[in-house]
């Protein structure tokens, strides 16, 4: 069988206005989820290196559970499973944001932990020896240095999470991939449409990489 396939540029261009409607959802789920995930990451990351086992263990359990299970299973669980428990439906957008938040939160916890633990013990000793409390030493000496080291892995996580939102087409959020599937169902131009979808993801992630590189350069300039 010989392939007669030719890339139909017109079909690709025609799909753009419809596909582009998915971008706000992709961005909303990604960045809404990441924002909450960052808060969770700081909280559970710091708890996971706490001296008290009753704070450390729950945090470690959270991290291991959400890193150790697929995000697809997590979102299916939240969207289809959780309503049984709470006795009412969860809308797909909320489920998507929650899944990104909980999943990225686990990875960001590890980024926070690694960042904080990478700071030399001598910094804490210097702070304490000057009379600062443990809390003061942490927030004015350790955290600013750790945060700078966290920027590249945080950017990495943001890019992973943006791409993860593509899985949420399965729960029917009108994000990029879902829009593509709906469009293809009417036009049968799978090659062109998924090509455009891929380009749109690339545009988002490349823009983010660029911004991150600028932030990194500014952040590291002083050290």
């Amino acid at each position: 069988m010989e392939s007669q396939f030719q890339f139909d540029w017109q079909a690709a261009i025609n799909s753009i206005p419809f596909l582009i409607k998915g971008i706000p959802y992709t961005l909303l789920i990604s960045f809404g989820g990441l924002l909450i995930g960052f808060a969770l990451g700081i909280i559970f990351g710091l708890l996971s290196i706490n001296r008290h086992w009753f704070l450390k263990w729950p945090a470690t359990a959270y991290i291991e559970i959400f890193r150790g299970t697929p995000i697809l299973v997590q979102v299916l669980f939240i969207f289809y499973g959780l309503p049984d428990l709470i006795g009412g439906p969860i809308d797909p957008l909320t489920a998507g944001i929650a899944a990104i938040a909980l999943n990225s939160g686990a990875y960001i916890s590890e980024v926070v932990r690694g960042g904080v633990q990478s700071i030399d013990k001598g910094q804490t000793e210097a702070g304490l020896s000057l009379g600062l409390s443990r809390t003061q030493t942490f927030w004015s000496i350790i955290w600013p240095q750790a945060f700078r080291r966290m920027i590249p892995p945080l950017g990495n996580q943001a890019i992973v999470s943006i791409k993860d939102t593509s899985l949420f087409s399965v729960i029917g959020v009108g994000e990029l991939v879902r829009q593509g599937q709906v469009y293809i169902a009417n036009t049968f131009t799978a090659f062109e449409v998924y090509f455009v979808v891929a380009v749109m993801y690339l545009a988002i992630t490349l823009s983010l990489s660029l911004v991150l590189r600028l932030v990194e350069r500014r952040g590291l300039a002083s050290v």
């Binding site: 001598g122 910094q123 000057l130 003061q136 000496i141 050290v223």
Partner: protein
């Protein structure tokens, strides 16, 4: 004379390793005590106990009349003690994300609520005093090792401590920079600062110390005036140590 530091029968373990054995030591106000000994002898651990960076297992330790509890005890005096005790580290431990001046201003502002203008003036005065008034707005990584250590001394002095601890302050420095740091320490001693100094600089010890203490395997085996300890050591372990370090 007022006693700034008092240790009685102090013991410290790292796991099973007995690193400080029945230490009896007191330091009087204005006294410069230099502690010498081989690496691993416990001399750094000894001065790190004074400001609670290391906990001890048993015995008695008093700083400025305030008792520090052994491991597991109530450590509420620790914060008060640390305000009165400055420390200079082998690796400087300056804060790399803050300018030189901000390094010095941080503790007075955070711990004593010193107004910014006052903290700023103090920082500038101290930087002049250690001879690097023109480097105030640079970041530590842009300074030489000797300059960084002088900033670290200024940072500790900003809290107006009654006692200064020096933990091998010149061991990480290139040889040509050791002198500038020792000069600052010499000045401090001359002005009457109470100092406990762990060092391998025997020339400095002989010249500046009021008392030299030799530690061997966690025990004080000899102490006295520098001339006595260096020229006429009584203990054979001290003799052996000194002949090794003074031979070259």
């Amino acid at each position: 004379m007022t006693q700034i530091v008092q240790m009685k029968g102090m013991n410290k373990y790292f796991g099973k390793l007995h690193v400080l054995k029945d230490i009896d030591l007191s330091v009087e106000q204005g006294e410069v005590v230099v502690i010498i000994g081989a690496s691993g002898s416990g001399k750094s651990t000894l001065i790190r106990c004074v400001n609670g960076l290391e906990e001890f297992e048993s015995g008695h330790l008093e700083v400025e009349g305030q008792a520090l509890a052994p491991k597991g005890g109530n450590q509420k005096m620790l914060a008060e003690i640390r305000k009165e005790v400055g420390m200079v580290f082998q690796q400087f431990n300056l804060f790399p994300h803050l300018t030189v001046k901000k390094n010095i201003m941080l503790a007075p502002q955070k711990v004593k609520n010193t107004p910014q203008t006052v903290a700023n003036a103090t920082a500038e005065r101290l930087l002049e005093r250690v001879g690097i008034g023109n480097q105030a707005d640079k970041y530590p990584s842009h300074l030489s090792g000797g300059q960084q250590q002088r900033v670290a001394i200024a940072r500790a002095l900003a809290m107006e401590p009654r006692l200064m601890l020096f933990d091998e302050p010149t061991s990480a420095l290139d040889p040509e920079m050791i002198g500038e740091v020792l000069d600052v320490m010499r000045e401090l001693a001359k002005e009457g600062m109470t100092m406990m100094v762990v060092t391998h600089e025997m020339g400095f010890a002989r010249e500046v110390a009021d008392r030299v203490i030799y530690i061997h395997e966690g025990q004080i085996v000899e102490q006295g005036k520098p001339d006595d300890v260096f020229d006429n050591p009584q203990n054979e372990r001290t003799q052996a140590f000194l002949s090794r370090v003074l031979a070259h």
